[in-house]
Symmetry: C2
Subunit: 616 residues, 2 copies
Amino acid sequence: MGNADNGEYGSAASHRVAHPPPQPFVTSLRNTLKETLFPDDPLRQFKNQPARRKVVLGLQYFFPILEWGPRYTLDSFKSDLIAGITIASLAIPQGISYAKLANLPPILGLYSSFVPPLIYAVMGSSRDLAVGTVAVGSLLMGSMLGTVVNASEVPKLYLHLAFTATFVAGLFEAALGIFRLGFIVDFLSHATIVGFMSGAATVVCLQQLKGLLGLDHFTHATDVLSVMRSVFTQTHKWRWESAALGLVFLFYLMLARYFIGELKKGINPSSVMDLNFDSKYLPVAIKTGIVTGIIALAEGIAVGRSFAMFKNYHIDGNKEMIAFGMMNIAGSCTSCYLTAGPFSRSAVNFNAGCKTAVSNIVMALAVMITLLFLTPLFHYTPIVVLSSIIIAAMLGLIDYQAAIHLWHVDKFDFFVCITAYVGVVFSSIEVALVLAIGLSIMRILLFVARPKTLLLGNIPDSKVFRNIDHYQNARNVPGVIILEIDSPIYFANSNYLRERILRWIIDEEERLKSLKETSLQYVVLDMSAVGNIDTSGISMLDEVKKIVDRRGLKLMMVNPGAEVMKKLNKSKILETIGEEWIFLTVGEAVGACNYMLHSCTQQMKSHESDKQYNNV
Amino acid sequence: MGNADNGEYGSAASHRVAHPPPQPFVTSLRNTLKETLFPDDPLRQFKNQPARRKVVLGLQYFFPILEWGPRYTLDSFKSDLIAGITIASLAIPQGISYAKLANLPPILGLYSSFVPPLIYAVMGSSRDLAVGTVAVGSLLMGSMLGTVVNASEVPKLYLHLAFTATFVAGLFEAALGIFRLGFIVDFLSHATIVGFMSGAATVVCLQQLKGLLGLDHFTHATDVLSVMRSVFTQTHKWRWESAALGLVFLFYLMLARYFIGELKKGINPSSVMDLNFDSKYLPVAIKTGIVTGIIALAEGIAVGRSFAMFKNYHIDGNKEMIAFGMMNIAGSCTSCYLTAGPFSRSAVNFNAGCKTAVSNIVMALAVMITLLFLTPLFHYTPIVVLSSIIIAAMLGLIDYQAAIHLWHVDKFDFFVCITAYVGVVFSSIEVALVLAIGLSIMRILLFVARPKTLLLGNIPDSKVFRNIDHYQNARNVPGVIILEIDSPIYFANSNYLRERILRWIIDEEERLKSLKETSLQYVVLDMSAVGNIDTSGISMLDEVKKIVDRRGLKLMMVNPGAEVMKKLNKSKILETIGEEWIFLTVGEAVGACNYMLHSCTQQMKSHESDKQYNNV
C-alpha cells in the first residue's frame, strides 16, 4: 500500500504514469478468457511441435498412463503391488459399509472398487489417490434419494435412481472439466469443507447407533433430532449385548442372524438398462447427482492435491474432473455408484508406499478375484463390525484442530465452518451447503461493497508512505491528505467510496482547524490497489473531483493501473483531472505539493516585504 | 503498482514491515460493523453535546424540515411557489396517465400527488426532488399484479392489492433505511438502471399504441411480442383517424367518447380498510411491493443525488429511504399508490428554480384545490393526449447516449445494460432485473476468482517497480522475478493463484535458460494490493513457499497490509517464510537480492583465485 518516491522531487517529472499500449477489444477479450479458463495454459507444450508429436502429446494429456507407462519400472511395480493389496483389504469392508450407508446392496461397494479404479488409473493424474466410494458421498446419496424413494419399500427403483444419479454426477464432473469450469469447485472454501465433513461425520456416527444397538427400524433422516428420536423411542428394542459387548461377542454375532445379506459371485453386471430417466424421478436424480458430484470432486481433488504437495508433482484440476467424470459415467453403466478419492484409503495407499496409479489396478484386480471366488466369505460380516469400521473412519474426519486453527487465524472462516457443521447436524446437508457457500460469497461481495480507505503517512527518514493505523510511526504531511483505495471500484462500492472519501476530507479539515495547523490544500488518491474500475466508478471519481474542487482543494491521483488508466482516458475524466496531476508515486505527488506550498509562502513573504518596503 | 526503494540499500534494513498494533476481537468487530453499516457516521454530530441539544439534533435528523424551516426566507418561498405551481400543472396530467399505466382509476394519480409530497417535504433531505408516481413503477405494478388479478374484471380487488403492494413497498423501503442496508440499492449498477429504464420506456411506448390506435381490448403482458400480436391481430379495429390525426383532431376527440372516466370531487378517502392481506394474494402483493419499492428507491435516490451534486449539498441515502418508506406507508392508507421522485417532474422543479421541499407542499396544495373543485374539468381529457404525454416522457428515458458511453468505457457494463434492455423488452421485468444484477455480481466474483498477477520491472533511472505490460520501458531484474498479486486472497482464488504463480516461475526459468542468462534465484511477491486474506489464502502461501523452496529458490514478500500481516503472524507462516525475508518496498527486496548475488559471485571469484594460487 502506498508508494515511495524515486529520489529528488526535481527528477519526479521525468517518471510519468504511462498510458498502457493500445490493445484491440478482441485481443483483450481473448486474453481475459484465456486467463479465466486456461490459467495453467495446457496447450503450452503443443507450441511449435511436429503434427505427429502433437497427437502423442494430446493422447498423453487425456491418458497420462501413456506418459508414465513407458517409464514404468519393476521396482515401482513391487511397491504398487504391496500398496494395491493393502488398499484392497481395506476396500472390501469399507465398500460394504459405505454401500449400506447409502442404503444400497452391499455388493455394490465391491463392484465400485473394480471398474472405476481401472478407469482412473488410465486417465487420472494423481499417483497416490486410491479410488472408491466415499462416506460423505454415500450418506448424501442415501439421504437425498431417501426423501423421494424409500430404499426398503422399492429397493429396485431406489437402486436404479442411484445409478442414474451417479451417471448425472459423472456427466456434471466431466462437463466442469471439459468446459474448464474447475474454479466452481474453488467456491467450496476450506472452512466450508472442514465444517461440512465434520458435520457429515457426526451424522454418520449417529446413524451407526442403528447397527451398534442392533435396531431393525431406523429413520432415514440425517439430522440429529430425528436420529435421537428414533433411538430413544425404541429403547425397549436396544440390544445391550450388541451395544456393550459388540466387539467381544464378535464370534457370537457371527453365528447370530446379523449377516449382511446375499453376496452373489461374479463381477459387475451391466446396468446401462437400469438408468432411469423417468421425468417423475429425474429432478431428484439430477439434484442428487450434482450435489454428490461436486462434493466428491471437492474432496477428491483436495486429497489428490495434498499428496501431490508432499511428493512435489503437479495435478491438473480440470483433467482430474474429466477423469472423475468418466469414472462415474462408466461406473453407472457397470452397477457401481458414486466413486471418488476417499481420504482414508488414499492415505493408506500413500503410506503403503505406492508409486503410481498401478496400485489402483492391483486393487481392482484383487477385488475382482474376491468377486469371482471369495464373496461367500463376506456373507457373515457382522453389521456391528461394519458400524465400527465406519465410525473409526468418521472420527478421523471430525477435524476439530482445523476448526481451532480457523478461530485463531480468521474468525469469519470459523463462523462459516461452524455454520456448515451446525447446518448438517441440525438441518440437512443441502441447507448446510447453501448457507456456508452463501456466507463465503457474501464475504467477497462485502469486501468489494465496503472497501477500506486507508490514510497514509510518511515513514520517518524515508520517502515511503504507509497506512498510519498500521505503522504507528508514520506522520501525516501538513496540508495534504493521502488516501489509499483498497479494492476495485465498482457499482457496488462507488457510492460508499464517495461518501467515505468526503468524510475523510471533512474530518481532516476539522482536525486541522481544531489544531490551528496549515489548512488542507491537497487530496491525494493512491490508486495502486485499485485493480479495476467500471463506469459507476468512473462517474464516482468525476463527482469526487467536483466535490474537491468546490472545497477549493486540489485532487491528485497516484499510480492508476493499466485498466484504470485506460478507462480514465476513454471517459475523458483524465482531462478533467489534468494529466499533470497524476503521479507515479505518492512521494512524487507529495513532493509536488510541498514544492507548490513552499513557492506560495515565498510569494506571500515577498509580497509582505514589498508592503513593508512601501510603508517605509 | 509495486513499490520503490527509499534510497541506499544499506538503509533498507532500517525500515521493516510493522506488526499492526494488537486489537481485541470485539473492537475490530465493532469497527467493521461501523464501517459497514454507518459509513457516514450519522451520530458524529451528537458527540459531546448536552442532552437537550441531542434531542433537537435527533428530531432534526429525522425531520430535516425542523433544520431548514427556521431559516426559511420569503425569497425562497417566492421561488418555491412558482416551482410548485409549475410541477402541479405537470403533476395532474402525468398522474392521470401513469395511473392508467398501472391500470388504476385515474383519480389515484391525483391522490398520489397530494399526501406523499407533504410527507416527503417534512422527512426528505433533497431540496429538488418532486414527489409523485413514476412511469416505470406504475408499469411494474400493472404488469406484476396483472399476472394474478385482471384489473378490468375485478377492479376492486386489483385496487386493494395495489394499495397493499404500496404498503409493502413502504415497509420494505423504511426497513432498508432503518437497518442501514442502503447499500443493497447500490447493487443496481448504473448500467443496469440505464438498460432497465430504456427497456421499460420502450415497453410503455408500445403500450400506448392502444391509446393512439384507439383500441379497446389490449394485452396486459408487457413483452414486445404479445403487444405486437394484440396490435396486428386487430388491424381492422385500428382507428386511423386517431392514429394519424390524433393530435390534429384533438377537438374532435374531445367531443368524442374518449373520456377517461369518472373523476369525483373531494380529497383522498382513507384506504386503511382496503389493505388486503388475504394469504391467497399476499405473495404477489409482497413480490410486487419489494420489486417496485426497490426500483422506485434506486430511481428516486439517483435523481436526488444528481441534483444534490449540482447544488453541492449532501443527501443521506438511508434517511431518504426512511422518507420514501413513510411516504408510501401513509400513501397506501390514503388511496395513493407507489410514489417516488420521478426524474421528469424533478427536472422541471429544478429548472423552475425551486429552493426547498416547500415546492412539494405548494404542489400538494394545488392538487388539493384541483381535487376539491376542478376535477370535472379533467373529465374530458382525451386518452390520446395522455398517451402522447407518456410517450414524450418515456422517450426521454431511452438514454442511448449513455449506452454508447458504456460501450466506449466498459464493454462489460454495456453488455449488462443491453441484457437488462433486451430482458425487459422481450421477456419480463423481473427476468431482466435478475439477469442484469446476476451478471453484475458475477463480474465481482470473477474479479476475485481470477485476480491479475502482474510481472513487475524496474523503471529506468529510478527505484520504482511497475507492471511490465503497462510500462514498456520497465526492465526485469536479472535473477529475480517480481510478481504483484492484484486482489484479496480468498478461497475462491487461492488455487488459481498457486497455479498461476508456479507458471510464472516456470516460464521465467525457461526464458532465462533459453537466453542463457543468470538463472532465477529469488521470487518476490508484492502484497501491496492484497487487501485481505483468509485461511485458504494462508495455506496457499504456505504451499507456494514449499514449491519455491523445492526449486531451490528464495521467497521474499513485500509490504503485506495490516490484515495480511496479522494473519501471517497468527498462522505461523511468518516464521516459515522468515521475517527477515519480508520487506517494506520492492526496491529494498531487490536491493537485498542484488547484494546477496553480488557477494556470492565475490566468494566464487575469491575461491577461484585460491585455486589458482594453489596451482601455482
